[in-house]
Symmetry: C3
Subunit: 107 residues, 3 copies
């Protein structure tokens, strides 16, 4: 048995919990925040037989990995019209630790 | 030294923390929620010498294990009287992981 | 790779997260409370290469260890004057677990 501790961004957490649950992983969600100047992280605890670790990691990677997104910033111009500017931002990302479990009990 | 991570139902958490503390275990309570469609879980972190792991597990089992309870549902009848119906529900349950600790420091 | 789980008092958490982040440690902050009759703890999760464990522990010790502080209690006297009495209290303290990480992934 292994314990996967995954720290993901809040905006990815809901979809990730759903996908992991659909794939029959037991997931527990802890509220968390990142370190200094970062905010909005969620920590997930996933218990899994060691044969399924790679499968869980693949789901986490698919749902949470760092990716580029185009957002639009708006600027107010001198004539009071608004100009939209496309801006590429990086979203997502996950930090994942796999830890060995000596004993696992479901009561 | 071992680390016990116990995910229990909210309604069992208070009694469990009390019993573990009375038995001299150091307990830290993290807020958590279950996965998809589940809610109301509490995650406890318990640090313990390996000789006392079984004793901690026994307390968790006694306090949190799955059990049947009889609750009463009430239905409003046609004549505006209320009928109570006994209903057996399953409550409690715990998921427990025991992890080895390489180094333990109390500062 | 190692995982450091540090349970510290709330009043030390902010400075500790700041110092660890400045020293380039990745820190995740979980809300937590202590056991029975204790409150106001914060749990930090720190992932670090094993070569830097001692350096992280030194920062935790410097920022969070148990120390004496002088506070002042005030008593209302019979003539409605107030008397201040110095009182030595113990603040801080940390419980720290170091756990081995089998696999670490930054996505
Ligand atoms: Ni990020
Ligand atoms: Ni349950
Ligand atoms: Ni303390």
């Amino acid at each position: 048995m292994k314990l996967i501790i995954a720290i993901v961004h809040d905006e990815d957490a809901h979809a990730l919990v759903k996908q992991l649950t659909q794939a029959d992983f037991g997931v527990t969600k802890l509220a968390s925040t990142g370190g200094f100047l970062k905010s909005g992280n969620t920590t997930l605890i996933i218990g899994t037989p060691k044969e399924r670790v790679e499968s869980a990691l693949a789901i986490i990677e698919k749902t949470s990995q760092t990716r580029k997104e185009i957002t639009t910033t708006t600027s107010l111009l001198g004539d009071n019209s608004v100009m939209g500017m496309p801006l590429e931002i990086t979203v997502g990302g996950a930090t994942v630790f796999v830890v060995d479990v000596e004993k696992y009990i479901k009561m």
